[in-house]
Symmetry: C2
């Protein structure tokens, strides 16, 4: 193995190297040449990045990915090797001056406005507004979509699961192995945390992004023990540090007989390899012992073995931190396990044992999570993997990045499909709230219009409606914040933990109707009269 011993500096301390300037669609590059050849590389242009419908059939989405976008923009430079590769796929007679232009390219003239991470985002309201020289802001399309779209999708998915579970259950993301490769997994762990999960199994997300990490043991650990192994040091000192060390395995055998008698089991029933594994784990983690109960049989083996080890640890002043179930009917088993924990706690007078947390996992989706967290459930911790990171109900948010203005002039795409039409012009966006802080609607208007005034009546055009609507907002919040101005960061970006807290605050403002996971009434978005008039005018001009 050729790799040198591990003491070098990390060249990519946040693990963002996968996003490089060439992480883009080839048509962005061919269009760059087209713009350049037409003398338009430096034309000022503005693009908006948004989604068309809230994901998963719900009424809300969380904005995420801004931080990654800003990092990407600020580091954006094409290396010589990048330019050489582009030269190899463009026509051989391409003007060398174009490649010189690419070599000098950066984002020092790019300005970015956007929703703070963790904000509620509405369909058609820009998550990002990106303006700057036409050639470079066009090149940014694919990487920005790639960085925002999945981040926002998985954050929203996590938020839905958090709403289902309620604030008290602990939710662990454990989908790394089911994600789209390494960085897919890192992105999933980061933004599941933003959306409301408590922790992740993904160690790299802990190291690079500060996500709290959690995990104990798998079936392979349990099945790797046959019971014939001899631990080099079976002795454990008491938790308080004083008193003689004790042979833990021997004490466990004593407790096992008592436990089996209490449960009416033969002392041969519990698998000895499983018990050896539990003892080994307890020796390594006496303060954090968790029993994985279902490698062989929960009732006849996993549970009695766990109880014997937990009681032996208890004698020494340690408290087991929980049990985990990974197959079968998890709700039913949690009830049964809790029952046994209660009677055993009472029988041996160890009150803490009855409330050790029960953790469950095994392909848990929204429906199963609702069942597992229903009133009276004995489940305390839920691990969610596949259905969180792959978002099977809707595995893509379908964000788009559309040109809305060039040289200050509005642009609009009509297409054969009304759903794919764009909203022209450089815009501002405001959230209008009622007197109780409830969400009335999100308003899109032209950038030059005065902001809506609190308490003043306003005629707006809900998207898709044929009639205007009159609203009188009690509160008005501007939605789009200036983050990067001409390449310069205007203010520090919130940390992941801050964005996570902001997301929970955002979700708490959702009305009960919008909080519903299958919504009949998505958040309303409306256009100002001036913006609606511009849309009508451009449409009429194009369809002569």
């Amino acid at each position: 193995m050729a790799a040198p011993p591990g003491s070098e500096r990390d060249p990519d301390p946040e693990g963002r190297a996968a996003a490089r300037p060439l992480l883009t669609d080839l048509y962005q590059v061919t269009m760059a040449l087209g713009y350049w050849r037409a003398g338009r590389a430096q034309d000022t242009a503005e693009f908006e990045l948004y989604f068309r419908r809230c994901p998963f059939g719900g009424a809300f989405a969380l904005a995420a990915g801004l931080r990654d976008c800003v990092r990407f923009l600020r580091a954006f430079r094409l290396r010589d090797a990048d330019v050489q590769f582009l030269a190899s796929v463009l026509p051989p007679d391409t003007d060398p001056a174009f490649f010189a232009h690419l070599r000098a390219l950066d984002c020092s003239a790019v300005t970015v406005r956007g929703l703070p991470e963790g904000s509620l985002a509405s369909p058609g309201v820009p998550l990002l507004q990106v303006s700057g020289p036409l050639l470079v802001v066009q090149l940014l399309e694919t990487p920005l979509l790639c960085l925002v779209s999945y981040a926002s999708l998985v954050a929203t998915n996590a938020a839905r699961l958090r709403l289902i579970a309620g604030p008290k259950k602990r939710l662990l993301e454990m989908g790394l192995r089911r994600a789209q490769g390494p960085d897919g997994g890192l992105t999933a762990s980061t933004y599941s945390y933003l959306g409301g999960f408590d922790s992740s199994s993904n160690v790299l997300a802990g190291q690079l992004r500060g996500v709290p990490v959690a995990g104990t043991l798998a079936h392979s650990f349990v099945t790797s023990f046959s019971g014939t192994e001899v631990p080099p040091d079976p002795m454990l000192a008491p938790a308080a540090g004083e008193g003689p060390r004790v042979d833990l395995a021997a004490r466990v055998e004593v407790w096992l007989e008592l436990v089996c008698a209490h449960l009416g089991l033969g002392a041969q029933a519990p698998h000895r390899g499983e018990r050896a594994a539990f003892v080994a784990y307890a020796l390594a983690f006496p303060r954090a012992f968790q029993g994985l109960l279902d490698s062989y049989c929960v009732q006849r083996s996993g549970l009695p073995n766990f109880l014997a080890v937990a009681l032996a640890l208890g004698e020494l002043g340690y408290r087991a931190v929980g049990v985990r179930l990974d197959s079968g009917d998890l709700l039913q088993q949690a009830w049964e396990v809790r029952g046994v924990l209660r009677t055993t706690a009472a029988r041996f007078q160890v009150p803490w044992l009855e409330s050790v947390p029960i953790a469950v996992s095994n392909n848990i989706d929204e429906e199963e999570l609702a069942r597992l967290t229903q009133e009276g459930s004995e489940v305390d911790i839920v691990g969610v993997g596949t259905s969180l990171v792959t978002c099977p109900r809707q595995p893509s948010l379908g964000c788009v990045y559309k040109l809305v203005a060039v040289g200050g002039q509005p642009r609009m795409k009509l297409t054969e499909d009304p759903d794919k039409q764009t909203l022209p012009g450089s815009k501002a966006a405001f959230r209008l709230l009622g007197p109780d802080g409830s969400l009335l609607l999100d308003l899109l208007q032209l950038a030059e219009e005065p902001p809506p005034q609190v308490g003043q009546e306003l005629r707006v055009w809900p998207r898709g409606a044929r009639e205007p609507l009159t609203v009188r907002p009690a509160h008005v919040e501007p939605l789009l914040k200036l983050w990067v101005q001409q390449g310069q960061l205007r203010e520090p970006l919130p940390s992941l933990a801050e964005s996570r807290a902001f997301a929970q605050q955002s979700l708490s403002r959702l009305s009960p109707a919008h909080r519903r996971l299958e919504s009949i009434r998505p958040c309303q978005v409306a256009l100002s009269e001036q913006l609606q008039a511009l849309v009508d005018r451009l449409r009429a001009q194009a369809v002569l």
Copy 2:
């Protein structure tokens, strides 16, 4: 912008940096401590990585990801910062000797067998067999799952789409913006190509992995032009290089009048901004001009503008390379567009014009692809994004990595769910074929058993069956190849293009029944009598 100009060496020339040793679940690390504390770090163990069911309800899957796994293994070393991070999440009184062990860890004692990339893989047959010291092969679980699972899933998805489209249609992967972040996109592009796509829009996949890249222009390019722009150089030389340069825009206006008269349209109907965009693109790419037809209206604007530019280019000896449609009924429009191309080619006596390729895109899934590639369709090129990279029918292959032997002794997990039981023991796998080369079944047997012999009768136990079956194979192929022995690569890994060719060869051997995309009969996997006896024995022992 602080980044230095781009001339430094690429620290990650294949873009694999996202896979690092800490890209793993925390429980792998806690178990590592458990094994170490129990004196078992160096015990010899063997794990198998496999999936339980063919994805998408079909009867086949393609193996992929081996190359990434081998690279990962060979580079596997924990850096000081990694070990420090692990120390921060493990108990504070953890023995420092454990961290010294981690610092010295590598894969120099790890051996890997597996299916070559592009092979047909069956449920329960190992994609990878990984053996070596228990502690390190346990640590590898999550990264190997992460590297194999999505790669195999998306390769299989691409193969299904290729089977639907048939060998002649050109298929372009364009899902980068819909993938799970940057590396998700790179993985998707790489393995879609392996599965049978012709090219990708993803430039980075071209640069780092050698995937052919393709792309022309987007709606934003078209809508960015109003028609008032003045190109700095509107002149174009003839294709053959001889003769005077011509003002392309002026010639286009001449042709537009002729085209509109031919089509019965007013010459004001085609959008002048769209036409200016087409001219600009043609000036940059005279040999590769493609018209994107649906920014405004295909019949009244996009198509006549395309024809005017294509005919003006034609005068100079250039041939347009195609048109693209991105909205509406793509099959119907392709017919209509082909009709106009034919009458226009005849009217102006430019025969090549009638057969310019028609490319389509817009949320194309398996059903729509089948419609678009039916007999008589005029569609030549299909771009697939979301439904290829997100695999919405089944966004995870659900691979697992299970312990099968420790110290040469078989291990088995029973669990509360028969589906999650494992097959014990170190194994060999063979594909048994009939006289016509058709697939009879894949046979799993214990490593020490003699291989099945051609022409000899064999009693085997199909998985899940209660009765054995007798087969007489006409051909026998060993499935698992030795790739890495004690950390040393045994032979060069096939290139991506070689694996792609091998995948097409593998798929061509599928019987019509297995080629069906909704299968009633998945590939059969059977156990040898000895392996079945071992399963029965271990199950009986555990359920005393």
